[in-house]
């Protein structure tokens, strides 16, 4: 039985609570096997794991796109942001139109929509590009638009599925810093899937490592570095040591 609930914003500080969550697809593929995971208010949790271990599936369950076939998947965030791997912008809409989309789907008024969009576009540093079409933007800018689009929901829980996977190193690092800044300002809880261990460590308050399919969580690491984070922290021995530990756990889980 799946028990996915989207309750009113509770005083409870746990926004996502997965206990022993299984998922077997109709074709018999066992994607998740006993996942235990919580995300609290103020936490930013990254998930690393081998390809095909069920990371996206886990986010899909959290968002309600998929339901668990076993265990309890409780999500008590009332507003959930979901950033896909691709920016998934509508090519016929301008930056402004794309960012307004979600509020529009929630039938917000025109002025309300425009105000929300303007604020979100400001947050991701795209002010001045409102009238541009997606085809006129770089990959990094498209990802920013996608971020801004989700920000208009003012999410309590933010799900990210490898959002920066397709970007070059420099753009990725810049967006990492912006995400950290947004996290500090907006106080959402984050669940972030990535293939990059150093990105996971740099962004997160907690990193979890998944095993190969059927995915389950095989290691958890608290990230002790204070927020806001200095970009140069990436070059310290402590950072390197933690990245090493996570990578090691990832390799172990792969066997």
């Amino acid at each position: 039985m799946s028990t996915l609930t989207t309750a009113e914003p509770a005083v409870r500080s746990t926004l996502l609570d997965f206990r022993d969550v299984d998922l077997v697809f109709p074709d018999g593929t066992a994607a998740l096997g006993g996942v235990d995971l919580t995300v609290d208010r103020g936490e930013f949790v990254s998930i690393v794991g081998p390809s095909g271990c069920g990371k996206s599936t886990l986010l899909r369950i959290a968002s309600g796109l998929e339901s668990a076939s076993g265990g309890a998947a409780d999500v008590s965030a009332s507003r959930i942001g979901y950033v896909f791997q691709d920016a998934t912008l509508l090519p016929w809409r301008s930056v402004q139109g794309n960012v307004e989309l979600l509020a529009e789907l929630h039938r917000a008024g025109k002025a309300d929509r425009a105000a929300k969009a303007a604020a979100a576009i400001g947050l991701v540093g795209l002010t001045g590009f409102e009238k541009h079409l997606p085809k006129q933007l770089s990959g990094g800018m498209k990802m920013r638009v996608s971020l801004a689009r989700s920000l208009t929901l003012d999410p309590e829980l933010f799900l990210f599925d490898e959002p920066f996977g397709a970007l070059d190193e420099i753009t990725r690092e810049r967006l990492n810093d912006e995400l950290l800044r947004l996290f500090a300002e907006q106080r959402f809880a984050g669940l972030f899937v990535t293939h990059s261990v150093s990105e996971a460590v740099y962004l997160s308050t907690k990193v979890v490592v998944m095993s190969g399919r059927p995915g389950s969580i095989v290691a958890r690491f608290d990230v002790p570095f204070p927020l806001p984070r200095d970009p140069d922290i990436r070059f310290t021995p402590e950072f390197a040591a933690l990245v090493g530990d996570v990578s090691h756990a990832l390799r172990e889980g792969h066997r």
Partner: protein, 289 residues
């Protein structure tokens, strides 16, 4: 009519052209086409002279200037009034009406049909075969029936036009509606958007480029449909199709050629016009070339 593949090819070209630097546009050159046209007209004169002097059947291949004369003047070169020129333009007008009315009906029917099919796989499986059947039925076989049911004048001409022009609208619209990718669909689903909202704000806009590709093909076909329909159903005022048959059977060489040329020019004009409309409508965000 490989319009689906055409669209798919276009789409992948679009994806690729994002990576490739755009080719620098060649300077339009005017003299090669003009030279080719001059050669063509020269050859035409030669063949016309051969048919005039040697074969002695001048109406089979009339001289170009006689054809031009038939298009622009209501008199023969010797000054005899023909009344043909006025007839030609009136026929073009009637054919235009039939083809545009037929095209409009094909657009409405095609888009509705495809939208219904896009609602469920089961509906698509149930209804798509009939779109294919429609395209396979030899129209000629239905002519007596259509005539008996709807008369031998304009209405039947329009029906033939719709039957010929419908398929590209159905297939391209369906392809377009289904081209929305999964993540975009889920983006809407996550916000609890209903079927109608998704159709209006996602699927139809996403389908517009391929709808316009279908529209251009259908527009070209609607001209063929109107002319063929005209030849099947000859009651009432003649359109270009009737004019072609009449001039051919009366051995009116220049007039026959004039009618064929006007019909072709109209077909080309329609094709270009609808290509342009598509470009104006979605060229802002979609790259057709």
């Amino acid at each position: 009519m490989p319009t689906l593949q055409e669209t798919a090819a276009r789409r992948s070209t679009v994806a690729r052209s994002a990576l490739r630097p755009r080719r620098i546009r060649k300077r339009a050159s005017w003299w090669q086409p003009v030279a080719a046209f001059a050669v063509f007209v020269g050859l035409w004169y030669a063949v016309a002279a051969y048919y005039d002097q040697t074969v002695e059947l001048p109406y089979l291949v009339p001289y170009p200037h006689l054809v031009l004369q038939a298009i622009v003047h209501d008199t023969r070169p010797d000054g005899v009034p023909t009344g043909f020129n006025a007839e030609l333009w009136a026929a073009l007008g009637r054919t235009t009406v039939v083809s545009l009315v037929g095209l409009a009906a094909a657009i409405v029917l095609g888009v509705l049909w495809a939208t219904v099919m896009a609602q469920a796989k089961g509906l698509e499986k149930a209804l798509y075969p009939y779109a294919v059947v429609l395209q396979c039925v030899p129209i000629l076989a239905l002519v007596p029936l259509i005539g008996a049911l709807f008369g031998y004048a304009s209405l039947s001409r329009v029906i033939v036009t719709v039957m010929i022009a419908l398929f590209p609208m159905v297939s391209n619209t369906l392809f377009g509606l289904q081209s929305v990718d999964r993540a975009q669909r889920e983006l809407f689903e996550l916000q609890g958007a209903g079927r109608l909202t998704r159709l209006r704000k996602l699927q139809i806009p996403a389908a517009l480029p391929s709808i316009f590709v279908g529209l251009r093909t259908s527009a070209g076909l609607s001209v063929i449909g109107a002319i063929v329909g005209d030849q099947f159903f000859q009651r009432g005022d003649p359109g270009l199709g009737v004019l072609i048959q009449v001039t051919a059977s009366r051995l009116m060489g220049p007039e026959l050629y004039a009618t064929i040329i006007i019909a072709s020019l109209y077909g080309i004009a329609v094709f270009l016009a609808f290509g342009l409309i598509g470009r104006l409508a979605v060229g802002r965000w979609f790259d057709f070339s």
